[in-house]
Amino acid sequence: MENAKAVIEALLFLAEEPLGLSRIAAGLGLTKEKAQEFIEELQHDFIEQQRGLRILEVAGGYQMGSDPALAPYLEKAVGGEESGQLSNAALETLAIIAYRQPLTRLEIEEIRGVRCEHILDNLIKRKLIRISGRKEGPGRPLIYKTTPDFLVYFGLKDLKELPPLEQ
């Protein structure tokens, strides 16, 4: 397929969320290995030709984003991160959920030693975590998990990319 790279480029341009390798491969009628080769070539081309976009590997797929080096200019034109940075408390809570998921609010609070209802609400609103069900047992408390948006937010391929917790 001679225009495979161009098709992949167009697909990634259109996608609003990370595209899985299998979806890209299926769309092109290629094997995953072959599709990955093309993606890697494309990634290389973007850097080589000093283009404004990069192909990122996040949340178990590929996504087009701007070159981080352009951030100062883009910020001027489009504005910076509107929603604001996460507080230390929110980051701590996220870290606990990321490593220990799925877990209940009480389990999070036991580790942090602080109540964190509001933080959880906020993280849910920002779609960084979600309620994934209830725990069996007394009171059947809700349990929380990280979302694909969480991986995108932190630029992670998957949860395995988290550094091991220091012992």
Partner: protein, 259 residues
């Protein structure tokens, strides 16, 4: 009237919770968590709370519960086995039977506190990458008009804008040879209009401008569309954005449910 003097501002480190404070106290003395005596930590902890109270700072209840826990642990060391049974409080966030247990929990907290640094760094690096999925498009439409955005207007500007509104209103009325009085009692098919708006939104799959929803652009249609939109927004079926006074109104589909 004399103006009140500025109250002096004191910056204290913000502690995320009692663990954070305990952790800080231990680290301040560069002690190993396992070498710290519970009595010394308890004393410093209470001293800190005392100074917070002198400064009239609100002390979150968790800090007080921890103070009680520390005192209980300390008293246990001083008085060999005074009252073992019946002291567990289910509501208690901190149920430690020994200082070791407390320090173990502190260690665990420290691991996550340090892991949070990794997340902070990644978030910062990632914030330099702009994606379509992070609402880039919405944001762009909104912010591209920001230069003109104003929070207040001078009288002259206000008068000018008001004049413009009157002009447009007159032009509309003249075009339709309709008196600018609307009979609202008449049956206005708002639900038809809502259905039409939803269908248009589905078809476009993204943002629509208010004016693109109008076909005839007469006052009745504008009114009905506007009311239908307000109703849809109230029922959270659409989101409405307007970046400045009298700016174009943008209609967006409701936010996707998470999960």
């Amino acid at each position: 009237m004399t103006s009140r003097p500025d109250p002096c501002t004191i910056r204290l480190p913000v502690f995320e919770g009692p663990f954070d404070l305990l952790f800080h106290l231990i680290k301040k003395d560069e002690l190993d968590i396992w070498d710290v005596s519970i009595a010394a930590v308890a004393e410093q902890y209470l001293a800190y709370l005392r100074s917070m109270r002198e400064l009239n700072l609100d002390i979150a209840s968790e800090f007080l519960v921890m103070a009680a826990t520390l005192l209980r642990l300390k008293s246990k060391l001083l008085l060999p086995r005074p009252f073992e049974a019946g002291e567990e409080d289910e509501e208690d966030l901190f149920q430690f039977k020994s200082p070791e247990e407390l320090f173990e929990r502190l260690e665990e907290y420290r691991r996550f506190k340090e892991a949070a640094v990794f997340f902070r760094e990644r978030a910062e690096a990632q914030s330099k990458v702009y994606l379509r999925s992070t609402g880039g498009r919405e944001k762009f439409i909104l912010l591209s008009g920001r230069q003109q955005q104003k929070t207040y207007y001078t009288y002259w500007e206000g008068a000018h804008l008001l004049g413009e509104i009157m002009n447009r209103f007159e032009a509309l009325a003249a075009a339709r040879s309709m008196a600018p009085a609307i009979d609202l009692v008449e049956d206005i098919p708002i639900s038809d209009r809502s259905g039409y708006i939803c269908a248009m939104l589905d078809k476009s799959g993204g943002a629509l401008s208010f004016s693109s929803l109008l076909q005839q652009k007469n006052i009745r249609e504008i009114l009905v569309t506007f009311i239908a939109l307000l109703d849809l927004a109230r029922r959270r079926r659409v989101r409405l954005l307007q970046d400045r006074l009298f700016g174009p109104i943008l209609v967006l589909p409701a936010e996707k449910e998470c999960g």
